[in-house]
Symmetry: C2
Subunit: 367 residues, 2 copies
């Protein structure tokens, strides 16, 4: 995948840098880990420090000192999951900041403007997120509104790119791509309709939204297997917010190219470390004197230098190094898995990797 800040090998996992930083690590760590692209959250950056300030600094890349690709979401998901007192109308989503209660309106156009000011390499359209499970009527209404919003977002971007841009909006990355988002809940027919209508509008590429929101993995896999193959073959397909390592493997098998998820970083801060056989909870007493690294087969900095006993001590003692070392390990696990997946695809051995992965990995905690 080509972007104004360089290319990304796919399938790729994007670490989440919510407020312009991936929690627990520095950009240098991300470089060392081989992260080729990170994700920033428009909702957070819009509220603090603000897209205007970031635009005046020359855009998000310059502001945060990261010169590789960045994808920003639209802010919609956080409005539905984090903001206070949200009210959604055809115009857009009104909400109160979870930080200071200030009131804001995010429309499809405004979400496009904010991301134009941030200057991410990939911007997402604002879509309507709804609680799941939703009945067919609610899912249809949200899907159809998302399509209308997608159209408005696209028109706005084309205006910003064109001869009559808005002087109030500083486009800090003229090569920014915009991805449409497929909605439709767990309903196959709605997903198909959403694909057709969204592809008809025409975006640089497309994402599958509204999944990985608590439904069982088989439901995710089924809907991804239904939706991804309908999306243009020559464009990257992005499954938003997913998932555990086995989810990534299964969704790659169904045609997905891009993933993002807070699990490796958030779980690291909660003391959950991934291994080839599954996650372990490092606070467990059984690790108090365990001299083995978290995952004996792992080549990350943490596993090459530190024991479970030390990592447990750091976690129990609430040392910052616990979060850092655990995050380094979990991100390495994700990024290294994706490296192995890419290599296997190139050499025609992906099916073998997929079956071997499932033979050893269990998403249930190991102890």
């Amino acid at each position: 995948m080509q972007t104004p800040h360089g290319s990304v090998e796919t399938p790729a996992f994007m670490p989440v840098g919510t407020q312009g930083a991936v929690k627990g690590v520095t950009h240098r760590d991300l470089d060392d880990l081989g992260a080729q692209i990170i994700l920033g959250n428009t909702y957070h950056l819009f509220l603090r420090p603000g897209d205007g300030l970031i635009a005046r600094a020359g855009g998000l890349h310059k502001f945060i000192g990261w010169d590789r690709p960045i994808l920003t979401d639209s802010g919609g998901y956080q409005i539905f999951s984090l903001a206070d007192r949200r009210r959604v109308s055809e115009d857009g989503a009104e909400f109160q900041s979870h930080l200071d209660g200030s009131r804001h309106l995010l429309t499809p156009e405004r979400a496009t403007d904010v991301q134009a000011q941030l200057g991410s390499d990939i911007a997402m359209v604002l879509d309507e997120c709804i609680a799941t499970p939703a009945d067919d009527t609610a899912a249809r209404a949200a899907m159809e509104r998302s399509v209308r919003w997608a159209g408005r977002a696209r028109r706005r971007l084309l205006q910003l790119r064109g001869d009559d841009p808005d002087p109030a909006v500083t486009v800090t990355n003229p090569g920014q791509a915009q991805f449409g988002i497929i909605q439709g809940g767990v309903h196959h027919a709605l997903r198909t309709e959403s694909v057709q209508a969204t592809v008809e509008i025409g975006f640089e590429a497309y994402a599958i939204g509204g999944l990985s929101v608590g439904e069982p993995p088989e439901v995710t896999y089924d809907l991804v297997g239904h939706t991804a193959p309908q999306l243009p073959e020559d464009r990257p397909r992005y499954l938003m917010g997913s998932g555990m390592p086995d989810d990534l493997i299964e969704c790659v098998a169904r045609g997905v190219d891009l993933f993002d998820c807070v699990l490796p970083t958030r779980n690291a801060r909660n003391g959950q470390l991934l291994t080839r056989t599954g996650p372990i909870a490092i606070r467990n007493t059984r690790y108090a004197e365990d001299p083995a690294p978290p995952d004996p087969g792992c080549g990350c900095y943490t596993c090459r230098h530190f024991s479970r006993a030390y990592l447990r001590h750091l976690y129990v003692a609430r040392e910052m190094a616990a979060a850092t070392l655990n995050t380094l390990h979990n991100l390495y696990f994700y990024l290294d898995t994706m490296r192995a997946v890419r290599k296997a695809i190139m050499s025609g051995t992906f099916d073998k990797l997929r079956s071997e992965f499932h033979q050893t990995f269990s998403r249930r905690s190991q102890h």
Copy 2:
């Protein structure tokens, strides 16, 4: 200075790794920064995870995965500053853990045993710390008790080193050195007596304790200037718990070789960054759109890559990266200052460096 885990160029600054980790950074960062020795706190490690567990892991170096020199304090200072309900008698210091209220007795012998089990390269004797300012009577009593305790600690170490060690104590670093500590408050005569009595007992080297505890800098400098020159010239002299960068320069001028201090790391977590002209408080609104690095003349990772505006955002947003990037900078400032000091001493230009440093540096916050 030679130790079982390699040599240390002096004068040296030792970052404080209280619980077996320097807050905000990883060992790899410390390597990159050029830290040649770190300090561990016996009080904390004794309570959690315990010197027994660390001894079974092969000692502190193995347990924490750090193979360069480590100095451990005796635990005395934390008993006086952190523990609950302490009671000091000739036998030792009884206290309750600040973690769980459990009761413990730390005697000069026990402090020696604990550090023998930790296996640091340099162990400190248990001394009696008192509140300052103390009158001559209280200061004399504490100094004389510290001398008696130093004698007991030395006898215990020689026993552990000798033919009749205690089978209950695992000596994990047979080459461990033990430093005596000079006390005597702000009283010149008491300091001199303490030097004579402590040197008479005979240790590998000596530290100046009981300073940097809130007295004005001129008082510190005066007492260091009085005490340090009386200590053996062929042994490193360690000023415990000091200080700001200008303190280090002034005390090097008075003959000190080793320093430790929590200020660079603690202040970093509180958003205070050191510059050639003095500390700045990064949360200040004036930095909200400041594209300059914290210290334009600095070569650290933080200054080479990030702006004050970004660091302020990270601090205000309470991102972990704020603590990490600020700590990297402040430690670099200390370690780089000590590198410059060593170089100046070798080339005979220390007086010039000292006067230039004071011309630009003010310990008062710059804004």
